[in-house]
C-alpha cells in the first residue's frame, strides 16, 4: 500500500475542508477503501478519519420518519429495534450483505460509497473506464457473468454491489449531504448514477461534499416487506440478483408498492413501472408475474449473464410472494 498521511477530523467543517483537496479521501469503516488501497486500485495521498464526528445516531421524529447518521454501523442499524419495527426491509437487506465482522466496521455512508466489485475494476492490469477513464472496458466482451442488464453503457457494465442501497432506493430514502455551500438533500434514487460517458463517477456527490445521514419517510410497508438475495453461495457473497419488495395490502388488494433490484445495474434499480402496475391488483402470484414482465422491459444481457434475464424476474416474483405472505 502506498504511504499516506492520516488525520482525524473533529468537526464536520474540517472534514469538508480537508476533502476539497485532490488526493484526499474520507475514511469511516474502511472495509472497501483499505481493500482497494492494498490492491493499488486507488492510492490517496491523505486519509481523513471522520469517526469522531457525532453522526451515528438512529432516531425517529414525530412524523415517524427514520433518520440514520452516516456513521451508524451496518450491524447497529440492522439490530436497532427502531429499524426492525419501522423499516424491516432495511434490516433484512443489511443482514444479507457482507459478513458479521464487516457489518461491525462498515458504516451507512461508507456502504453507499463502496465501489463496484467488477473484477476488471479490481485488476490493475486490465482496462477499466471506471478506474482509468479512457482505458476501455474489460468486462464488455470479457467474463461478464456478474454484470449489468439494465442501464449500462458502452463504457461500463459494472453493477453497484450494495444490498442496503437497494432497500433505501425502494423506501424513498433521502440522503443528507454537507458541503462548503451548506446542506442539501438528494433523493436516494438520484444519489447513484448510471455509467453513461463517465463511469468513473459512481454518484452525484459534488467535490467536497460529505454524507451526513439518510432519512426514510414513514410508510405502511413494515408488515409486507421482503429482501431476497440470490447468490452463488447462501451467505457472504455479492448478489447475482436481489429484490427489495415492499407492499401495502388491504383486504387482499395492493394499495402501494415499492420495488428495487440489486445486482443488475450501476445503481440500485428502482422499478417504478412495475410498482404502478401492481396498484389495485390482487396480491397474487399472477399479478406479480405481470409486474415482473413489466420490470424486465429494456433488459439487455451480455455473453455470460444471460441467465439474469430469467433469474431477475423470478427473484422479483419470489420476493413479492414472500412480502405478501404467500410463502
Amino acid at each position: 500500500m502506498k504511504a499516506f498521511q492520516y488525520t482525524r477530523a473533529t468537526t464536520q467543517q474540517s472534514a469538508i475542508d480537508a476533502i476539497a483537496k485532490p488526493g484526499t479521501k474520507i475514511i469511516a469503516g474502511g472495509t472497501n477503501l483499505i481493500d482497494l488501497m492494498k490492491r493499488g486500485v486507488i492510492a490517496p495521498d491523505k486519509l481523513v478519519d471522520i469517526n469522531q464526528l457525532p453522526l451515528n445516531s438512529i432516531s425517529v421524529n414525530k412524523l415517524g420518519h427514520l433518520h440514520i447518521g452516516a456513521l451508524a454501523l451496518n450491524s447497529a442499524v440492522a439490530e436497532a429495534n427502531l429499524v426492525k419495527d419501522l423499516q424491516p426491509l432495511l434490516a433484512m437487506a443489511l443482514n444479507a450483505g457482507a459478513s458479521p465482522q464487516l457489518r461491525n466496521m462498515a458504516t451507512v455512508g461508507g456502504n453507499m460509497m463502496q465501489r463496484t466489485r467488477c473484477a476488471y475494476f479490481y485488476d490493475t492490469t486490465m482496462p477499466c473506464n471506471k478506474r482509468e477513464p479512457g482505458s476501455g472496458c474489460g468486462a464488455i466482451g470479457g467474463y461478464n457473468r456478474m454484470h449489468a442488464i439494465f442501464g449500462a453503457s458502452d463504457k461500463c457494465i459494472a453493477v453497484h454491489p450494495s444490498d442496503m442501497c437497494v432497500a433505501l432506493a425502494a423506501l424513498d430514502a433521502t440522503v443528507t449531504v454537507s458541503g462548503r455551500k451548506g446542506q442539501r438533500l438528494i433523493p436516494f434514487t438520484e444519489f447513484h448514477r448510471l455509467p453513461g460517458e463517465h463511469p468513473e463517477m459512481d454518484n452525484t456527490l459534488a467535490a467536497g461534499e460529505l454524507i451526513t445521514g439518510i432519512s426514510i419517510p414513514n410508510n405502511n410497508f413494515a408488515k409486507n416487506s421482503y429482501y431476497l438475495k440470490i447468490r452463488d453461495r447462501q451467505s457472504y457473497a455479492f448478489a447475482l440478483t436481489s429484490v427489495a419488495a415492499a407492499l401495502e395490502i388491504s383486504n387482499g388488494t395492493i394499495k402501494q408498492s415499492r420495488l428495487a433490484m440489486g445486482g443488475v445495474a450501476h445503481k440500485p434499480w428502482r422499478l417504478f413501472d412495475a410498482e404502478k402496475a401492481l396498484i389495485g391488483k390482487p396480491a397474487t402470484e399472477e399479478s406479480f408475474k405481470q409486474a415482473a414482465e413489466i420490470a424486465m422491459q429494456g433488459a439487455k444481457a451480455y455473453e455470460y449473464n444471460k441467465f439474469k434475464l430469467k433469474l431477475a424476474p423470478a427473484t422479483l416474483v419470489e420476493a413479492l410472494k414472500h412480502a405478501a405472505g404467500l410463502v
Binding site: A3, Q5, I27, G30, I34, D35, P100, L102, M105, Q234
Partner: protein, 214 residues
Amino acid sequence: MEDEKDYALPEFDTGEKDNSRRNFLKQSTLLTAIALTPGTAIKAADMRVDEKIAEAFEKMPVKLEVNGVAHNLSVEPRATLLDILREQLDLTGTKKGCDHGQCGACTVHVDGHRVNSCLTLGVMASGKKITTIEGLAKGDELHPMQEAFLKHDGFQCGYCTPGQIMSAVACIREGHANSEMEIREYMSGNICRCGAYPNIVNAIQEVKEGGHAV
C-alpha cells in the same frame, strides 16, 4: 529552527548505483540519526532523501490495550492492526489469510466487537481494547469455546481456527447462535477450506447450550 542551521548533515550516498545490503543498513542507521535531529531533516529535501525522511517522520503514536496489556506504539498510518499484532507485538495467533476481508482468519475483538483486523488501520484502533485468540484462555485454563473446538474436532489444518473461535465467541455474545441455521449464517464470515463446518457448528451449539459464560 533558524538556530539549527549549523547542524552538519551526516554524509549520505543518494546515488542508486550501490543497492547493497550494507548501503541499506548505512542508510537505515542514518535515518534514525536524522529522525533524532529535526534540524537536519529540514535539509533532507536538498539531499533528495525526502521520501525516506517522510517515512521516518510519519509514524504516529498509537495506544492499544491488547489482551489487557497496554502498549504505546509508533506505527505508519498504513499498518493494519493485523500486521501490528503479528509483527510488532509478536501475537501471531491472529492469522493472515486473504488479507482482504474475505476469509475471517484475522478476526479479533475491538471494544468487544468482532472485526477483520486486516482491514483495520492500527491508527484507527488507537485507544481501543483489543482481544486476540491469545487473550481468551485464563492461564492454562482454556476458554469453553477452545475446549469445544478440541472436543468436536472443529478444525483440520487449524489455520482458520483462531478466527473461527473469536467469531464463535462473538456469535454467542451477540445472541446469534440460537439454531444451526443461524450459527451458519452468522459464522459465514469465517471460511474453512478444510471444511470443518459441521464440527464448528457442533462446538458452538455445545457452548451455547452448555450455558457457559463466554
